[in-house]
């Protein structure tokens, strides 16, 4: 079976690079689009006992295209007192950090953009660039709501970066590597109390880390119940207040593409990534099946993220900070300690 699917042509380096770039772009855009349509438009509506968009395309499936078309038509306004250059730049900074996360994402044995030894370290580092973009947006808008939103976002993202990283550290300790391919391999080849049937997805041993990571992800994405930076009943839409047209669209894509990227990270770190039990890791077929498997796991994590999003109302700003510093960070530190002890013991 694998021989059939082996490509007859060997690609040269530049051809591979083009494929990888296109693949990463498609993954980000497709992931964001699927998240918006499946979760934001449809699942949210069903959870509120309504149908959601129904007019554009069958069951409203083309609604996203219609929305994008609407935003593209709108005037790209820059406030008079705004710092125009920074104001225009901000959405691109946010979006760039999202696209850069995918650089280290493995989708199969050869289907990756780069295979860095410090993969997850780079991904988490790059994800925090978006803070700068959001701060820039809040500052450059020359609007008090934007500024408050930007500062709230900065405080929130920095506070929740920590538990996120600490939750990942547990996985890294258990896998013994920062390389994402290595982490996938560690889960594939691991065993649960000597039984190696389905490998050892780290969600089993790192369930605390998984929950902390998901909570922190929720806050990093500024989604309810952690949507203080865009709290529409308090500060209009926070740092996005002055944005319209394509720049608002970029923020919007950025939000959901980041959701996709974090879901992919969670799927890789905790659910076994692109690997499938019983299939050899170096099998060539995994270059095709792998991305689909990762996508399915990503949708699973996305479901959890959006389920929480649609269920809970917003916290208060001080509760948010207290939750990160007094609850999540101690828990993840304890998790790291326990992981260290158990790693040495076994």
């Amino acid at each position: 079976m694998t021989d059939v699917l082996t490509l007859a042509v060997e690609f040269s380096y530049w051809q591979q690079s083009i494929f990888r770039t296109l693949g990463a772009l498609v993954f980000v855009i497709l992931g964001a689009g699927t998240f918006v349509i499946v979760f934001l438009f449809k699942m949210m509506s069903f959870m509120q006992s309504r149908l959601g968009p129904m007019e554009a395309g069958p069951h409203g499936s083309l609604q996203l295209l219609a929305e994008v078309g609407k935003w593209l038509q709108k005037e790209d306004l820059v406030p008079e007192r705004a710092d125009a250059r920074l104001f225009k730049m901000a959405p691109y900074i946010v979006l760039a950090s999202t696209f850069l996360i995918v650089v280290v994402m493995p989708f199969g044995p050869d289907a990756y953009f780069t295979n860095l030894d410090t993969g997850i370290f780079l991904a988490l580092g790059l994800s925090s660039i978006s803070v700068i973009g959001i701060l820039v947006a809040g500052w450059a808008s020359a609007n008090k709501y934007s500024l408050i939103g930007g500062l709230r976002a900065a405080g929130q993202l920095i506070a929740y970066e920590l538990p996120m990283v600490l939750a990942i550290v547990g996985v890294v300790i258990q896998a013994g590597t920062l390389n994402l391919q290595g982490i996938v391999a560690a889960q594939h080849q691991g065993d649960i109390f000597g039984w190696g049937g389905i490998g050892n997805p780290f969600i089993i041993t790192q369930i605390v880390g998984f929950l902390v990571f998901l909570t922190a992800t929720q806050a990093e994405l500024a989604q309810p119940p952690f949507d203080m930076p865009v709290a529409e009943s308090e500060i209009v839409t926070g740092y996005m207040t002055e944005y319209s047209g394509i720049r608002f669209l970029l923020f919007f894509i950025g939000e959901f593409a980041t959701a996709g990227a974090f879901a992919a990270i969670a799927a890789t770190m905790f659910l076994g990534g692109w690997a499938v039990p019983f299939v050899d890791l170096d099998d060539n077929i995994m270059n095709i099946v792998g991305p689909l498997v990762l996508f399915a796991k990503m949708m699973l994590v996305g479901f959890l993220i959006f389920w929480v999003r649609f269920t809970f109302p917003r916290f208060r700003e001080d509760q948010l900070q207290a939750f990160a510093w007094k609850f999540l960070i101690p828990i993840s530190l304890v998790n790291i300690l326990a992981t260290m002890v158990l790693k040495v013991a076994f």
């Binding site: 069903f46 959870m47 006992s49 149908l51 129904m54 389920w307 929480v308 649609f310 269920t311």
Partner: protein, 185 residues
């Protein structure tokens, strides 16, 4: 006053998540029995897809105000009581034949103009309340939006046409002292 400590701190979170999941599943898989797993959100949703299907309106719902021209005596009570000043009435005195043969000619008021500007109207219904001669009626018709805002000014003929859509008056609950209107046909 310190709040009482919850017995199980996270229980509420899980109850909330259970409720949303249940509602989602109930909307997506509304059928029971053997067809349970066939998704049919159109059946499960509580909302009505408005342009394709219309909701059953409540009796006495306030859509648009209809005018029975013959009943109007140009008393101007409605125009004066309108909080938005959106009713414009003009009339003149005219002679009408006597009621009984040999009687005197009567002086009656005739309507020249009766406009309601629905761009201004706030549907309070005071005009319908104050009308002493039962010339104004609520009808449940509500699909009369216009591309031009000026077209929302309904003139006397348009208001008269709405009379056809006035439903029969539903009696009030027992014990109500509101007057029961008879709809002229």
């Amino acid at each position: 006053m310190p709040l009482p400590k919850p017995k199980m701190p996270l229980r509420g979170l899980f109850i909330g998540m259970k409720i949303t999941l249940q509602t989602g599943l109930r909307t997506f898989f509304p059928r029971r029995g053997i067809k349970t797993l066939i998704p049919a959100p159109s059946l499960g949703a509580h909302t009505v897809q408005y342009p394709h299907e219309t909701e059953a309106l409540a009796p006495r719902s306030r859509g648009v105000i209809a005018l029975k021209i013959e009943n109007c005596t140009v008393c101007m009570l409605c125009a004066r009581s309108c909080p938005d000043w959106c009713i414009y009435i003009e009339g003149h005195k005219t002679k009408a034949p006597p009621r009984r043969p040999g009687g005197k000619e009567r002086t009656v008021s005739a309507l020249d103009r009766f406009d309601i500007d629905y761009a201004l109207c706030m549907y309070c219904g005071i005009c319908v309340e104050v009308c002493p001669f039962e010339a104004l009626f609520w009808t449940p018709e509500h699909e009369y939006s216009e591309p031009r805002i000026a077209d929302l000014l309904h003139d006397i003929n348009r208001l008269d046409e709405w009379m056809e859509t006035v439903p029969d008056f539903e009696p009030y609950e027992a014990g109500s002292d509101a007057k029961v209107k008879k709809v002229p046909r």
